[in-house]
Symmetry: C2
DNA sequence: GAAAAACGTTGTCATATGACAACGTTTAAA
DNA sequence: TTTAAACGTTGTCATATGACAACGTTTTTC
């Protein structure tokens, strides 16, 4: 049986089947419960995750104790606390499972060994970084200086899955507003 | 005489002198006036810039006609409208000279030819992307949900050069607030 | 050097949003 | 199944900030 990650790499890279099989040896499957912490603030990120099933959430906690969600990742995507993963400095982010999830994990060391071995994997990693950058920029421009009601409409248009699948509270933290504000905005629509 | 860009690449990469000389052949020096447009919203970004002197500003214009500044780049750094440069879709950003500037420009095509030729240059380019990502993330988390006065303090601490070198109006656009609000906040400090 | 434009500050006013609380509903835990 | 916790909604109230205008200063342009 061919794994989901195998298919994913097949579709998104130029890697050949035997190369992919070699790469997959370094990944380990894990299952998580709801709200399980995978990467913690203050710790250095050493893992890279692929999502077979479920939803992971990347967030930090600001001075006031409020959660600010940076990103939700769904099935068939790679994610980790990228800033710490890159810099190897203590992370400001948490990465947790939003739902019970099935993941494939690889250690940072193994991953970078493989990117050295397989140029196509390195190219794919660079695309992951590029995509993360583009998404970040979109959020900065999209949300800075935009009013709440427009942020809500933006998400409805661009990431509608979030509104059905994710709790209001979490969506609010993604939009940079409180849950009560989001609730009132939804009532206005 | 050894150029500034030569020194910069020497210090920030493993490239050898003769490799750098070869790379520099594809860069062309240009001088700009104040507020000169280098890359325009709606157009596809085809250039990559190195700043010898001066300051470039990356911004977009939102629905209400307000400018939102994403980034200020100073001497000895590379910059372009990265999202469009990567995706080759029409840019949402403008890139303009904030001050009269002296730049070195290379075409996207030449640049990517060179990153194929020189692995060390490609590695440096990947670092540029990574840095841009890290900076973006910092801004998202730093600014979403933060009050104006705290944003101001944040910039005073982390990017104090901006406050001395950049106009109030432009700083305000970077912080996602109006100039009058910034002015009042400064009075409060 | 003179005229015009852009800029920075301050005031007033309107409003979007946060803080907090109450309460019913849904979800999780035992 | 029962109990407790978390969640979503709605109300009130306080406040930070935007919109707009006035005005003096600084900068640009010709």
């Amino acid at each position: 049986m061919i794994s989901q990650l195998h298919n994913f790499l097949k579709q998104n890279t130029q890697l050949k089947d035997d190369e992919i099989r070699d790469i997959l040896k370094s990944f380990k499957p894990i299952k998580t419960k709801r709200n399980q912490v995978l990467e913690k603030e203050g710790e250095i990120c050493k893992h890279f995750y692929f999502i077979n099933k479920g939803c992971l959430r990347l967030y930090e906690i600001d001075k006031k104790g409020n959660e600010i969600t940076g990103y939700f990742a769904l099935e068939d995507s790679f994610i980790t606390t990228l800033t710490s993963f890159i810099t190897q400095k203590p992370s400001r982010d948490f990465l947790t499972s939003y739902e019970p999830a099935e993941l494939e994990v690889i250690s940072r060391q193994d991953f970078f060994n493989l990117t050295e071995k397989y140029k196509d994997l390195k190219m794919y990693y660079n695309k992951v970084i590029e995509f993360a950058l583009i998404h970040s920029q979109m959020r900065i421009y999209g949300f800075l200086g935009m009013e709440g009601i427009d942020k809500l409409k933006w998400v409805m248009e661009h990431e509608p899955k979030l509104l059905t699948r994710i709790s209001s509270k979490a969506v609010a933290s993604y939009l940079g507003m409180t849950n009560s504000t989001l609730s009132k905005l939804k009532a206005k629509l």
